[in-house]
């Protein structure tokens, strides 16, 4: 899609709250947060070829840090937000350093294990995290005096950030750095012998992904005003991984589409269909059988074939 298309889409999305009820606006905010989160993971899974099964750590950790700063230290949002992002990204740096000792399945397992450790901490370190009861009693920030407790205002805020994040990701993957990232995915050996710092490139991607995950985490905690260790669980990590794959890893639109789909099925369709888990599973299987590379690439090639036929 071209630039005009993107702007048009943005405008349409921005106008949504004027036409729909509060429920849909809130659902929209959640989708956008999921889109950011999935896009951040896509950097790793799609472009770096590193399948992480522990990405929920960054969302969860950032949510927890923000919540703790607010509840335990009474810190204001203006200060807490940057500290949260920084701290989470630092953790991402350390975890990346550990996990990137391996690649492939061991990388997957290391990310999983690291996330499980943080999850265990969330459950067990009750004096800080309040354990299973989670942390509640949080507030949303109000930048420039705009009241974000209002669903519409919050939606616009999230939309703005989503647009910025997607723009950053789009730039990144088209840049030389993006090309070398894909290179490390496809032929690590050759990349090193050409003189690229494979480890460094991966680590940078990892840190960027954890930073963007932390952004999603902040938005998440502002939205829910509550955190529970379940945001750190494998299930949460698996869910975002599934949205990336279902939408199409390694494409820009894919993770967004996947994330929207998963949120829709989980939160919307489940209101109408009691067996929504079956539906969700069925949809995944269907996607795989029809479009093994995910929705976005699948639709794209379908489109191309139709266009060819017309000619």
């Amino acid at each position: 899609m071209n630039r005009i298309g993107h702007v048009a889409l943005l405008v349409v999305l921005a106008l949504l709250p004027l036409f729909s009820g509060e429920y849909y606006v809130n659902l929209g905010s959640q989708m956008l947060i999921a889109v950011i989160f999935a896009s951040s993971l896509n950097l790793l899974v799609g472009y770096a070829g590193l399948t992480s099964l522990g990405h929920a750590v960054y969302l969860g950790l950032s949510a927890y840090i923000a919540a703790c700063l607010a509840l335990r230290f009474g810190m204001g949002h203006a200060l807490a937000a940057p500290i949260t992002l920084l701290a989470t990204t630092l953790v991402g740096g350390v975890f990346g350093w550990i996990a990137l000792r391996a690649s492939g399945l061991s990388f997957l397992m290391l990310t999983l294990a690291l996330s499980q450790v943080v999850w265990g901490l969330g459950y067990r370190w009750t004096s800080v995290t309040n354990g299973d009861n989670g942390l509640s009693g949080l507030t949303r920030p109000s930048p420039f005096g705009i009241d974000m407790e209002n669903s519409n205002a919050y939606y616009w805020f999230v939309l703005l950030i989503t647009a910025v994040v997607l723009w950053i990701v789009a730039r990144l993957v088209r840049s030389p750095f993006g090309a070398s990232l894909r290179g490390t995915r496809d032929q690590e050996r050759r990349m090193s012998s050409l003189g690229y710092n494979v480890w460094g490139i991966r680590w940078c991607a990892f840190v960027t992904a954890s930073f963007l995950g932390a952004v999603a985490g902040l938005l998440y905690v502002y939205f829910h005003k509550y955190v529970h260790p379940s945001v750190l669980s494998v299930t949460a990590s698996a869910e975002v991984l599934l949205s990336v794959i279902a939408g199409g890893a390694g494409t820009l639109a894919g993770p967004a589409v996947g994330a929207v789909l998963v949120v829709l099925l989980k939160n919307y369709a489940s209101g109408y269909i009691e067996r929504w888990n079956m539906l969700l599973g069925g949809v995944f299987v269907f996607i795989v059988l029809v479009m093994p590379n995910g929705i976005a690439p699948g639709v794209q090639s379908l489109w191309r074939r139709l266009a060819e036929k017309k000619q």
């Binding site: 399948t51 550990i98 000792r101 990388f107 294990a113 499980q116 794959i245 079956m278 590379n293």
Partner: protein
């Protein structure tokens, strides 16, 4: 003293259970390199089927058999209808098999409800065994035995009959494997069925220890992943050994440092993988 003996037996029993759980996974995921995340669901199905059979009075042996058959058939169908088309595309496999396990888990919920269902062990194993001055469940001793038998049989099958080499050839280069005359299609389906069947057997045999309950699939899947990867993907011996190692780590870890109960499996894992990314016994072939 009794603490140490009981905990050692506990470790062995848990290790045996893990072996039964992960041997099938070692075949499908380790050897065939198919990311079959329905493994937990198959295990759970095995447990539920066995529970129903035992409850209906069919006897434990028959229940295990039926669980084995059911999961083997289901596994075969999954391989033929879905995974066959996705060979080599690990991400698609993950998506498809997780999708299938969502379906399976929900189906189990519909059929068997949300309550845990016990599996009664065979009558002769009901009474605890007396060892010296304390007692230990005789069923668990039987599980250790069953695990050793299954492990040995499997090891023999894979390492001695060249089945393993043929599968690995297919994984390395499917086209070439077929071009040297390996009937890869039949072979892969059979081994997949065997793996699925082992999951079902594991579920049926593990049933009396774990009971069948919703969520069993997820719990077991992550354990199987841990075992296989810690042992070294592709190394059957690694899986067999890792099962027991984890049995010990878990049992003694939770008893001696309860504060670490949540991370007791993952800390050693991080250490091992950080220094040996291909697992304890991997590497030679990974």
């Amino acid at each position: 003293m009794q603490f140490w003996i009981t905990q050692t037996l506990n470790s062995l029993a848990l290790g045996g259970l893990l072996l039964l759980l992960s041997s099938g996974f070692a075949l499908i995921f380790g050897l065939m390199r198919i990311a079959n995340l329905t493994h937990g669901a198959l295990f759970m199905t095995g447990a539920y089927v066995a529970a129903s059979m035992v409850r209906a009075g069919w006897g434990f042996a028959l229940a295990v058999t039926l669980a084995a058959i059911t999961t083997a058939v289901v596994g075969g169908l999954i391989e033929r209808l879905v995974l066959r088309r996705l060979s080599g595309n690990a991400q698609a496999q993950v998506l498809a098999t997780l999708g299938l396990s969502f379906i399976a888990a929900d189906a189990c919920l519909v059929i068997w409800g949300g309550d845990p269902i016990p599996v009664t062990p065979p009558a002769f194993l009901l009474a605890p065994a007396r060892l010296l001055d304390f007692s230990f469940p005789s069923y668990r001793l039987a599980v250790i035995l069953a695990a050793v038998v299954v492990g040995a049989l499997l090891y023999w099958l894979i390492e001695r009959t060249r089945v393993g080499a043929r599968i690995r050839a297919g994984v390395d280069d499917m086209q070439m494997a077929r071009a040297v005359g390996i009937r890869a299609s039949v072979l892969f389906t059979s081994v997949f069925c065997l793996g699925a069947m082992l999951a079902g057997v594991g579920g049926a045999i593990g049933g009396p220890m774990l009971s069948a309950y919703p969520g069993l699939d997820g719990d077991m899947l992550s354990l199987a992943l841990i075992v296989v990867i810690l042992g070294g993907v592709g190394s059957l011996l690694g899986t067999l050994v890792a099962s027991f190692i984890i049995g010990f780590i878990y049992t003694f870890g939770t008893a001696l440092v309860p504060d670490l109960a949540y991370v007791i499996l993952f800390l050693p894992m991080i250490i091992v993988l950080a220094f040996r990314p291909s697992g304890l016994f991997g590497g030679a072939r990974a």
